[in-house]
């Protein structure tokens, strides 16, 4: 593409938009379907935070590993996990990514480098240190990314992992997805060290804060941090300040948010609108191309929900399979 002033070629810009649109529609649809009572367990929706997952994962391949959180659907989709398998997993069906045994908070696909969503806060950080250590020994150039929220950032596992990553100079990126609320507790109250960048510097790691609603801000910063890690520059921290459109979990009344906060954010801080506005006004992508992706993704999500609903449940015989893995 000539005269493209963006850091990605047009096909990758369209791919990034498709990823963000897929996450958004996946989550918006789950919001509707969960209320019908057909989905077991809890779901924690990523809507509003898409630019973070897409901006970071645009730099990764299947050799790179990520460790996700309880709010992991966006990470899974951006890392390439099959949407049909994800939806089936959330419905607890045998065709799911983990054969229906994991559910929303434990979707994993090692073939894609997706080590799993995780219901335990801060548990991804030590896992990714292991994956990064393995990558370092293999010398395959792989990096490990662990996501955690502003709440989990206070877990000992996260802090211990930063120390481990620093002393072993591991290719790990610690991504703080700071949406301002640890469940319902404001970050202003709950975090004693006032800046996550300060916290990283306590371990000798460089830290960067970006606007997590701006795909290009995340993409640029993540690109430099990941490149540095691949080249042996060691671990770093990336804080993405972002917006959570829904509650902590589905059913959360969100009384802790200000009146009109969600409406304001959907109108003014929607990362998809910001991205689409920028690439179309620059004349690199047309509104018709955006609309086509919107239609295709809507059809994809319809299909995924339909297939998931019609899929069989795991049988009783499956209860004791996949419990242990022999290496």
């Amino acid at each position: 593409m000539t005269n493209n002033p963006f850091p990605l070629p047009k096909d990758e810009l369209l791919a990034a938009y498709r990823t963000m649109r897929t996450i958004r529609d996946f989550e918006e649809r789950l919001h509707v379907e969960f209320a019908k009572g057909d989905i077991p367990g809890f779901v924690h929706l990523y809507a509003g935070e898409e630019a973070c997952a897409a901006g970071i994962m645009s730099h990764l391949t299947d050799v790179d590993r990520i460790a996700s959180t309880h709010r992991g659907h966006g990470h899974c989709i951006a890392k390439g996990v099959d949407v049909h398998a994800m939806m089936a997993e959330i419905y607890g069906k045998a065709t799911g990514a983990c054969r229906g045994k994991g559910g929303s908070m434990h979707i994993a696909d090692l073939s894609k480098g997706m080590m799993g969503a995780n219901g335990i806060l801060g548990a991804g950080a030590p896992l990714i240190c292991g994956a990064a250590l393995a990558a370092k020994f293999r010398g395959d150039g792989g990096v490990g990314i662990t996501f955690f929220g502003d709440g989990a950032s206070n877990q000992g596992t996260v802090l211990e992992s930063m120390n481990l990553a620093a002393i072993w100079n591991l290719p790990v990126i610690f991504v703080v997805e700071n949406n301002g609320y640890a469940e319902s507790t404001s970050v202003d109250y709950a975090t004693a060290v006032d800046s996550y960048v300060d916290r990283a510097s306590g371990f000798g790691l460089p830290g960067v804060t970006v606007d997590g609603t701006d795909f290009f801000a995340v993409y640029e910063a993540a690109g430099e941090i990941i490149k540095r890690a691949r080249e042996g520059g060691g671990p770093a921290l990336l804080e993405c300040k972002m917006i959570r459109f829904f509650g902590h979990f589905e059913g959360d009344a969100q009384a802790y948010k200000a009146k009109g906060e969600n409406d304001y954010n959907r109108t003014n801080r929607d990362c998809l609108k910001i991205f689409a506005g920028r690439v179309t006004s620059a004349g690199v992508v047309s509104a018709a191309e955006i609309a086509l992706i919107d239609r295709e993704v809507a059809a994809l999500i319809d299909e995924a929900v339909g297939q998931a609903k019609g899929a069989p449940l795991p049988s009783a015989r499956d209860l004791l399979t996949d419990v242990y893995v022999a290496y």
């Binding site: 002033p5 850091p7 006032d194 960048v197 300060d198 804060t209 290009f216 540095r228 004349g283």
Partner: protein, 347 residues
């Protein structure tokens, strides 16, 4: 009316990508609070009784109050009374602008001490009206605030605020560069305006030299870091002389001339230069690039498309700062900080 001093301390500065692509440092929140405490102690030593401070959610205020409380516990009353402005906190640059406006409107704030980088100082300068600024660098590229121990800046601010130094000595006029798109309200830069080929704000900082196309500087000091360093190494222009410098840049591989410039802390890069010329105050410059991003004081803030018109104009004597060096020299010569308790006493 007893003059007050305002303090605007930005908790968010020095957090950008230059910690990775360069070797920029970060100033921790506790360190920023410590700087405020040092400035407060200096203000009290000059007789300043009351200080108003911008509230923020970054934690600086909390650490400062804790420090004052600890000193009180040690029976050391060495700080002025500290109040926080009653304003809504957004966690954005609007907080800085709002605080500057409130301090300017209050009418009794004689000087505003600013902690931040060039961006923070720019936000204050745009809204502080005629109230002079005393800058303390806690940002990344600190071309505008001079590097100095904050206690000294606090002393100079205090002496100036208390009227112990004539205004003609205490305060210096500064230039700004205004940028407007399609005739809209201008944004300002205190040090430099760069036009780059990116058409997005992204991670804001500038470090990819191949994207640099034009540069306008209010002053060009070979001792500063950032975009202004490029100009400073070509043709120095002081803060105090009239006008600035306009440069046409190009990728180093194709440029007729190249300069090795410190464009970020620890990052010395070859930058291509096609030409340069003086930039008289009041003259409107129009970038040749038809579309791109505009970086104000080293950070991409705006972007423009081919159908938009961009105007760049230097303004002389746009706002005032405390001339710390001049104040301290005056204080020394006039003995403003001397005390002779035994003078006149019989042996």
């Amino acid at each position: 009316m007893t003059p007050k001093v305002g303090i605007i301390a930005n908790p968010i500065s020095a957090r950008d990508i230059r910690r990775v692509v360069a070797s920029a440092n970060g100033v921790q929140i506790a360190d920023r609070a410590n700087i405020v405490l040092r400035a407060l102690a200096a203000l009290a030593a000059c007789g300043v009784a009351e200080v108003v401070m911008m509230p923020e959610r970054g934690g600086i205020g909390g650490h400062v109050l804790r420090g004052i409380e600890r000193a009180r516990g040690q029976s050391a009353a060495r700080f002025p009374r500290l109040n926080f402005l009653d304003m809504k906190i957004t966690g954005t640059v609007e907080d800085t602008r709002c605080a500057a406006r409130m301090m300017a409107l209050a009418g009794d704030v004689a000087v505003i001490i600013v902690l931040g980088g060039d961006g923070t100082h720019r936000a204050v300068a745009g809204d502080c009206g005629t109230v002079p600024i005393a800058g303390i660098s806690t940002g990344t590229n600190n071309a505008f605030p001079e590097h100095r121990e904050p206690t000294i800046t606090g002393l100079a601010a205090g002496l100036a605020a208390m009227g112990l130094v004539p205004p003609a000595v205490a305060f210096a006029a500064n230039k700004t560069i205004e940028v407007s798109i399609d005739g809209g309200a201008p944004e300002i830069a205190l040090v430099d305006v760069a036009i780059v080929t990116d058409r997005f704000v992204g991670a804001r900082a500038l470090w990819r030299t191949e994207t640099f196309r034009e540069l306008y500087v209010a002053f060009a000091d070979p001792e500063v870091i950032g975009m202004a360093a490029i100009a400073g190494l070509v043709e120095p222009v002081t803060r105090r002389e009239a006008g600035g410098l306009a440069l046409i840049l190009a990728p180093a591989a194709t440029a007729a001339m190249r300069v090795r410039a410190p464009i970020a802390p620890g990052l010395v890069e070859m930058v291509g230069i096609q030409s340069w010329a003086r930039m008289p105050a009041g003259t409107v410059f129009t970038p040749a690039l038809s579309a791109g991003a505009i970086a104000l004081d080293g950070e991409r803030e705006l972007f423009f498309d081919p159908h938009q018109d961009v105007a760049v104009r230097l303004v002389d004597r746009a706002f005032h700062t405390v001339d710390v060096a001049a104040v301290m020299q005056f204080a020394a010569r006039q003995g403003l900080l001397l005390d002779r308790p035994l003078e006149g006493a019989r042996p």
